[in-house]
């Protein structure tokens, strides 16, 4: 079995079969991380370049650990201290990196579409680790795995994605992937943070989160970036948390078996109250654990794939 794609750029490219294969492989990988010696030699001798042109802790570490647990050599490149800051164009950097014969390029960039650009320029597989306001496919896959492990199914579930949909690459990947897998996805947040045209993705929109919470099987809270306040997408963090935050009060209306996801990092007390983030419904740390397994699976499945 192999994937139908060479790159992981957008969840649009993945077939349902691809997703099933990725999740099955990830389940097999989970056990490795539970051993006392957390390493297997299946990617020994492979080189994985982690190109994070935008700051990241969680995703970069997750990829690095995933690579190392499979015995690959993971090399980190950030925009600070790289040739990019010396004026080299992105494509030149990519060509130079490729000349060193890496097996996979993992790319995070603040500009949407850069992983696509690089995938056309280099020979090896490229994994999009988050590009601008576009997509974050590995996050959506790990969210899929997290939901599936608890709920045992995706089809028919009602998943509410709440918060800053406009700026969220996590939201877009999840909307596409979860709908592909048969879930009903609803969006909620202030209208200023709901992108125009998103309803054409087949997702109902709510401006009052209390309207969507009672029927949700899964609530996915998105991070509010503080700089959005200065840009007047909402008046204040205080008001945001009062009307769009998940807290004890709003949770009273939720299903008993609801689960809560958040891609992190969490703004405690803004989009989610601390007692909810740490509470019984929260799967936030499971997401992080599953992230390593999903990324191990992807590295494994893409390694050896050549043009």
């Amino acid at each position: 079995m192999s994937l139908s794609v060479r790159h992981i750029l957008s969840v649009n490219d993945l077939t349902k079969k691809d997703c099933a294969l990725i999740l099955k492989t990830a389940q097999n990988m989970e056990e490795i991380s539970e051993r006392s010696v957390k390493k297997v030699p299946i990617l020994r001798g492979k080189t994985i370049l982690l190109c994070f042109f935008e700051p990241s802790t969680r995703t970069r570490t997750s990829f690095e650990i995933a690579a190392k647990r499979l015995s690959a050599d993971a090399v980190n490149i950030s925009s600070v201290g790289s040739s990019l800051s010396k004026g080299e164009t992105l494509l030149d950097t990519a060509k130079n990196l490729e000349a060193m014969n890496p097996d996979i390029l993992v790319v995070r960039h603040a500009q949407s579409g850069i992983p696509h650009l690089l995938a056309q320029a280099v020979d090896c597989p490229v994994i999009n680790a988050g590009d601008g306001m576009h997509e974050h496919p590995t996050q959506a896959l790990l969210d899929l795995m997290t939901i599936l492990k608890v709920k045992k199914r995706i089809a028919g579930l009602h998943i509410a994605i709440i918060g800053d949909i406009l700026h969220s690459r996590v939201a877009l990947s999840n909307i596409i992937l979860l709908k592909k897998m048969g879930a009903k996805v609803s969006l909620a947040g202030p209208a200023s943070m709901i992108p125009l045209g998103i309803e054409q993705f087949g997702v109902p929109i709510f401006y009052d989160i209390r309207k969507v919470i009672p029927s949700a099987d899964v609530i996915m809270m998105l991070r509010i970036q503080r700089e959005r306040e200065a840009d007047s997408f909402f008046p204040s963090l205080r008001e945001y948390s009062r009307f769009f935050g998940l807290n004890k009060e709003t949770m009273k209306h939720a299903k008993k078996d609801v689960v809560i996801l958040h891609p992190g990092p969490v703004n405690r007390g803004v989009e989610i109250a601390p007692e909810i983030a740490d509470g019984e419904h929260s799967l936030i740390l499971d997401q992080v654990t599953n992230g390593v397994a999903v990324r191990m699976a992807l590295l494994y499945l893409l390694c050896g794939a050549k043009k």
């Binding site: 200023s192 709901i194 007047s232 909402f234």
Partner: protein, 424 residues
């Protein structure tokens, strides 16, 4: 408290009613209207013989100046002026000091208005913090506290993206956005309409485009965000045509015009009359005619006064330096009835623009005498001669361009929440 209004000619455009009816109200609610003149025992009777009985007037645009500028007006004097003019519901703009840009100021205004109790005073929350046009005000919190709309009225929102976000954010809370349409880079420094009069007086003018460019921007933003926009005090022919076209395209746009823009031209500013200095400025005959036409064809939803009190001192510093604004609640009815007496509009149309029209534009409960509506009722004699005498105003300010005008039309009784709050 039971009230019966007998012998009057009831005109209620919300139910297409015009005729002799008796109106019954109990506990602040209209309980019935019928032809039968017999009043059961227990009702206080108000004889409205020879007068018009209308739903209480609604003014979508006033400045009550409290908190902060109580020397010009306060909630007590403003409410008294309102009911003397026949208004039972008024919206008050946010340019107070401190600005009504947060729930605590909104709550304070509502609390004061309840204490005064004469009219329903509904606060409009600021659109941006401090009316600075930079960051959104806490719109959600103000709406929960009772604000019925948001607006930076008086301070145009120059930042297009902020206006967009305001429309979107207000949409989340279901309140309309009121725009004071003015491009400050075009009106910059001007004090009256730009034309023959401004040239004759040698003062800087405000061109129509300063208003029209912003009306068009905001209509297009309303289209983009699919949210309710209300254009305040439209003053030009082209501006009202833009609203007409927006309505034709079924965009969620409403508008108001003021009595002064309907009745006066820039010639009122001759002799440097600061009481005719208002923003947007008084325009030309052609603009007045276009606005009157728009009353009749349904383009205009409401007539609002933009009641803007200023002290004598603030108006006595020359045309260039004096503040913009004039008061209008106590003069609105006789001034507007002139249009009826001149047969430019019908009495029914005028009442519609003061009652049902504004109620629908802002999604308010009143504006109707249908059974179950609030018992807010205005009784007036449309033919009684009056001379406008600013010294007899309930308002603390005197800045009216209509002083000494001899008109016809007098408010006899104003009833709010089933109680007589004004009688002449």
């Amino acid at each position: 408290m039971k009230l019966a209004i007998t012998n009057g000619r009831v005109i209620d455009p919300s139910q297409n009613l015009d005729g002799d009816y008796t109106t019954f109200a109990e506990n602040g609610i209209v309980t019935s209207i019928h032809r039968n003149k017999k009043v059961p025992p227990g009702f206080e009777i108000l004889d409205a013989k020879g007068a018009i009985v209308s739903p209480g007037f609604i003014d979508l645009h006033t400045h009550l100046r409290e908190p902060g500028f109580e020397y010009r007006e306060d909630i007590v004097s403003g409410a008294k002026a309102a009911v003397a003019g026949g208004f039972t519901t008024i919206l008050c703009m946010a340019n107070t000091k401190p600005v009504n840009d947060n729930a605590s100021v909104t709550e304070m205004i509502i609390k004061r208005a309840k204490e005064v109790g004469l009219a329903r005073i509904l606060p409009v929350g600021a659109l941006s913090k401090g009316l600075q046009g930079k960051e959104l005000a806490e719109i959600g919190e103000m709406v929960k506290a009772g604000a019925v709309a948001i607006s930076d009225d008086g301070m145009p929102v120059m930042h297009g993206k902020l206006m967009r976000h305001a429309l979107e954010y207000a949409k989340s809370f279901g309140v309309p956005v009121i725009t004071h349409a003015e491009d400050l880079t075009l009106s910059d420094g001007g004090c009256i309409h730009e034309g023959k009069v401004s040239t004759a007086l040698g003062v800087a003018g405000i061109p129509e485009v300063a208003e029209e460019a912003m009306i068009q921007r905001d209509i297009l933003l309303s289209k983009l965000t699919r949210h309710r926009l209300h254009v305040a005090h439209v003053s030009t022919e082209t501006g009202i045509e833009m609203v007409r076209q927006a309505k034709k395209k079924k965009l969620p746009v409403t508008c108001e015009v003021t009595p002064h823009h309907l009745m006066l031209t820039d010639e009122a500013c001759l002799e440097y009359n600061t009481h005719a200095k208002v923003n947007p400025p008084l325009r030309t005959r052609q603009d007045c005619a276009a606005l009157i036409e728009a009353l009749n064809d349904g383009t205009v939803d409401a007539i609002a006064t933009d009641h803007a009190p200023h002290s004598e001192d603030e108006k006595s510093v020359g045309l260039g330096c004096s503040n913009f604004g004039l008061i209008g609640m106590e003069t609105a009815l006789p001034v507007l009835l002139k249009l009826v007496h001149q047969k430019k509009i019908t009495l029914k149309k005028l009442i519609q623009l003061l009652t049902m029209g504004p109620a629908r534009a802002m999604n308010l409960k009143g504006g109707s005498l249908k059974k179950g509506s609030p018992a807010d009722i205005t009784i007036f004699d449309p033919n009684r001669p009056v001379t406008i005498d600013p010294n007899r105003f309930f308002s603390k300010s005197r800045n009216t361009p209509f002083a000494h005008w001899r008109l016809k039309g007098k408010v006899l009784y104003t009833i709010c929440n089933g109680k007589v709050v004004f009688s002449s």
